[in-house]
């Protein structure tokens, strides 16, 4: 054990002397801090945008109060009044932005048919979303493996190439201790950095101190351990530094770049989702056919679903709002199957990736971090369901006005339901990810140790 610590401290002195490596670690620390800064400012911006929405609604109400100074027909109000379903980020989202820049974090709603409002997107710069987010999760998942590779590609090979290994192994130390001391030192440096950045990130983003702190640290630790395991395997092969560098980078490319992009293609092919376009087209047909169909036909279909309004006055007018909103809603119902199929298709794509992400710990780590922060597709689908429920609540609020012919007064604006939704973490996904990472770590370390045992270290 003393020898282990001796070698460990020797590594420390060696590391301090190697300007390049210290510089590399400092650079990574800086990029990590930038990642945290970027993530928190980006989430702050989204929060700030979300706070402007009630103000926009308020301005809209002011305008309506001028437009309709006295008691008004609720149908007019429902038509001109806009409100918002809002998706607030969890504090953790600042550390792993996931898809929050791609999926809209609010939906503008009117009392009209829901399905042609639900999929509207926010303004985005496609070049920016193509380049992706430089958040802490990116630094951990993408860049930390590269640091690990840079630190350990020449674990033994450089000593061998400089002729030191022969001298070292001539001393009474076992090669196993040499390798483990070197690995342990590098592990300490990398984990120190990862934990430091994570803690700084958590403090900066002001996350609540719950079990997720441990899960985040566990995920990042295991992910780093996995890459050390890969480095161990390559070291055990005992080839030249150049070979090690090329091979390790090849493994990185395979797991971080190639497998994800190929998997993405496979998943898209396995679960095609053209229903999105289909359903908006069909919904438009249904709604506009509503204008041309006999009013009694529309109303009878509507009353079959909402018998509580059946006893309302028969429509004789050329136009009346309750008929208008009835066929808007029937338009939504006509595409309910497509809408469910669309959401299911997306969920199935996600689930398939979840099943297959054992192939690449990088995907696993990324999707676990996103799940922990509540920034991936399932959370967005939950938000869409919540927005749908909000639209239902709006209809329930306006229907009595429309069907009982109650006048809409200025006081009624304040009684209108409002919406809020905050991301919930997908804890089970994150914990499953932790388990799968543990498995990957076990596999690489077992392989590395077996290799080391099978081929004793050759000093030359």
């Amino acid at each position: 054990m003393r020898i282990f610590w001796l070698l460990f401290s020797y590594e420390w002195r060696h590391f301090r002397a190697a300007k390049g490596l210290v510089l590399l670690c400092a650079l990574l620390l800086l990029t990590g801090l930038y990642g945290i800064y970027y993530g928190t400012t980006e989430m702050e911006r989204q929060r700030q945008h979300l706070t402007t929405l009630p103000e926009l609604s308020r301005r809209n109400v002011e305008e309506l109060k001028v437009k309709f100074p006295g008691p008004a027909d609720a149908g007019d109000i429902g038509y001109y009044h806009t409100t918002y379903a809002v998706h607030h980020p969890d504090a953790w989202a600042a550390l792993s932005l996931g898809q929050r820049d791609i999926n809209p974090y609010y939906v503008k709603l009117r009392l009209l048919g829901l399905q042609n409002q639900l999929y509207a997107t926010d303004n985005t710069n496609p070049m920016k979303v193509l380049s992706g987010n430089f958040d802490l999760a990116f630094v951990l998942v993408y860049l930390f493996p590269l640091l690990i590779i840079a630190l350990s590609f020449n674990l033994l090979s450089s000593e061998r190439e400089e002729g030191i290994l022969t001298l070292l192994l001539a001393q009474p130390v076992s090669p196993g201790v040499v390798v483990s001391a070197k690995l342990a030192f590098r592990l300490a440096v990398v984990l120190g950095l990862a934990w430091l950045l994570s803690v700084v990130g958590m403090l900066w983003a002001q996350v609540p101190l719950d079990g997720r702190v441990g899960t985040w640290l566990g995920l990042s630790t295991l992910y780093c351990l996995f890459w050390f395991g890969v480095a161990l395997i390559i070291t055990a092969l005992q080839r030249t530094s150049a070979f090690n560098a090329v091979t390790l980078l090849g493994v990185w490319l395979l797991l971080v770049v190639l497998v994800p992009s190929l998997l993405n293609l496979g998943v898209a092919a396995a679960h095609p989702v053209p229903q999105g376009i289909e359903l908006t087209i069909k919904q438009r047909e249904e709604i506009h056919a509503g204008w041309d169909r006999p009013k009694t036909q529309t109303m009878n279909r509507f009353f079959a679903l909402y018998p509580q309004w059946r006893d309302t006055a028969t429509i004789r007018e050329r136009f009346v709002w309750r008929w208008y909103y009835a066929f808007q809603h029937l338009g939504d119902l006509a595409v309910a199957k497509q809408a469910a199929a669309y959401a299911n298709g997306l969920q199935q794509r996600y689930d398939l990736v979840e099943k297959l992400n054992l192939l690449s710990p990088a995907i696993n780590a990324q999707s676990s971090l996103n799940a922990l922060a509540g920034t991936d597709l399932p959370t967005h689908l939950k938000f869409q369901r919540s927005a749908t429920a909000y639209h239902d609540a709006l209809r329930a609020f306006y229907y009595p006005f429309l069907f009982r012919k109650v006048e809409f007064t200025h006081n009624d604006y304040a009684r209108e339901p409002t919406h809020t939704f905050t991301s919930q973490p997908e804890l089970s996904t994150a914990l499953r990810g932790l388990g799968k990472l543990l498995l990957s770590v076990g596999v690489v370390f077992a392989a590395g140790l077996l290799l080391l045992r099978a081929r004793p270290i050759n000093p030359r």
Binding site: Y38, T121, F134, T280
Partner: protein
């Protein structure tokens, strides 16, 4: 020099590691071409079918009031450009369809990225991806030992003693490596060209040929500068290991870190307005006038008074035109004008965000080839905006034609409908992607950056080599 090139070429081909790597890259390139074509076909068919469907639906509407038709509206689907099968650019991150209706400009919805989880953020397997990121890596593995190995084995001294200059050695090596790289890349590009020009599905023409030729040329320059750069680094560094580590570090910095960092920094520096805010502002200005002194009801009242005066009558009933139609037409013109201003501001913000990355292209060739490649492929931001503008122009023209129809119906138009055959005479949305000549001015900066790199490296780098004491 020729024999040095020949030697490098032959020994590269004999090198097993290079053979394995290049077969891998070639396989990826071919796979990416075929996958790109398959996804091109699926998406294109999906969109063509959808466009056909909505066009048919539009033409076969029953008798309706024109303003009903304006609300029924239409959809514009963005067709993919032929070369996007090589470089899909921002296509996966832009919406595919936009609903076109009276009074408002809707967002372009249903992007590929929204239809997949965060997996898509790892990058997409396209030909451009292989060419931009993986081929440079192959070049690095190929060239890092160009000089260091010769020095380590002592063959460089032998070579120089035969009266060859360092510069000649360097050019010989560059030429040899270039041939090897061309051998890897050419088959995939040939396959792509065959797919593009040999099959019916692409409207091949001079424009497509021009784009493909420039596409190939730009990548040739890109690879060339990587080869020269790697050879220079190999000459300057003390050992093969140091050369390799330096080159890999530069690759990581240039291809992974910088592009993302600059895109993010751009977005932080130039914040863009949200759609909700923009819509509210457009609405506000359309209602109360662009400068707040010209409210819509006053504009409408003035319009009506002007009409009565023009036709010399005292009431709306006696007018030969529909006041509703004229007011509608005026307010559409006004709000479209307001919207165009805001839309232009938004795009100017995005362009400022992206400019930062384009300028960094002067420092980082990857950030020069990326916009150039997608610009030539017709899948960059500028082409996307062109589509948005075309869709908006069509929407505006369609709504105004319908408003004109309403106007011509005269007083009491709301009680009446127009015949079903009216809708068959209205033009349909047919998107014409812009020609190469339109795209080129947008790509000036990346082109200049790439050429500067190629010339600068060949000149300065080679001078560095011949001035160094290598042997």
């Amino acid at each position: 020099m020729h024999s040095i090139a020949q030697k490098e070429f032959v020994s590269t081909l004999r090198d097993k590691r290079f053979l394995v790597l290049s077969v891998l890259v070639l396989a990826l390139l071919l796979a990416a071409t075929l996958v790109g074509r398959a996804s091109y076909q699926t998406l294109q068919q999906e969109r063509q079918l959808a466009q056909q469907t909505v066009n048919d639906q539009f033409r076969h509407q029953p008798a309706r009031h024109p303003h009903r038709v304006a609300h029924y509206g239409s959809f514009a689907f963005r067709p993919r450009s032929g070369l996007s099968l090589l470089d899909s650019g921002v296509d996966s991150f832009t919406g595919t369809s936009v609903f076109l209706e009276a009074h408002q400009q809707n967002s372009v919805n249903f992007s590929q990225a929204q239809q997949s989880g965060s997996l898509i953020r790892f990058g997409e397997m396209t030909v451009a991806f292989v060419l931009q990121m993986l081929v440079p890596l192959l070049i690095i593995f190929l060239c890092f030992g160009a000089f260091t190995q010769e020095r380590e084995t002592g063959t460089l001294k032998l070579l120089l003693s035969q009266g060859v200059s360092l510069r000649q050695v360097a050019w010989g090596k560059i030429w040899g490596y270039s041939r090897a790289v061309a051998l890897v890349v050419a088959p995939a590009l040939a396959l792509a060209a065959a797919l593009l020009f040999g099959t019916e599905e692409f409207t091949s023409g001079a424009d497509l040929v021009g784009r493909l030729v420039l596409f190939v040329l730009s990548y040739a320059v890109y690879f060339f500068l990587f080869i020269v750069g790697a050879v220079v680094v190999s000459a300057v560094q003390a050992s093969s290991r140091a050369a390799l580590v330096t080159l890999l570090g530069l690759w990581i910095l240039g291809c992974i870190i910088l592009p993302k960092a600059t895109a993010n920094l751009g977005a932080t520096l130039y914040p863009a307005v949200t759609k909700a805010q923009m819509d509210a502002d457009v609405h506000e200005e359309a209602q109360h006038g662009i400068n707040g002194h010209d409210p819509q009801d006053q504009r409408s009242a003035a319009l009506k008074a002007g009409l009565l005066k023009k036709y010399g009558v005292d009431s709306e009933e006696k007018l030969p035109v529909s006041v509703g139609g004229i007011v509608m037409s005026e307010s559409e013109a006004y709000s479209a004008k307001v919207y165009q201003q805001h839309f232009a501001d938004l795009n100017a913000t995005y362009e400022r965000q992206n400019r930062l990355s384009d300028w960094v292209g002067l420092l980082n060739p990857y950030q020069a080839i990326r916009p150039l490649s997608m610009g030539l492929a017709g899948s960059d931001f500028a082409h996307y905006v062109h589509f948005q503008q075309a869709a908006e122009a069509y929407r505006y023209a369609l709504v105004q034609r319908l408003n004109a129809l309403q106007t011509s119906m005269g007083y009491g138009d709301k009680e009446r409908k127009l015949d079903a055959h009216t809708w068959q005479q209205l033009p349909l949305f047919a998107y014409q992607a812009p020609p190469l000549g339109w795209a080129l001015p947008h790509l000036l900066l990346p082109v200049v950056a790439l050429l500067l790199w190629a010339v600068g490296l060949s000149w300065l780098g080679l001078r560095l080599i011949s001035n160094s004491r290598l042997a």
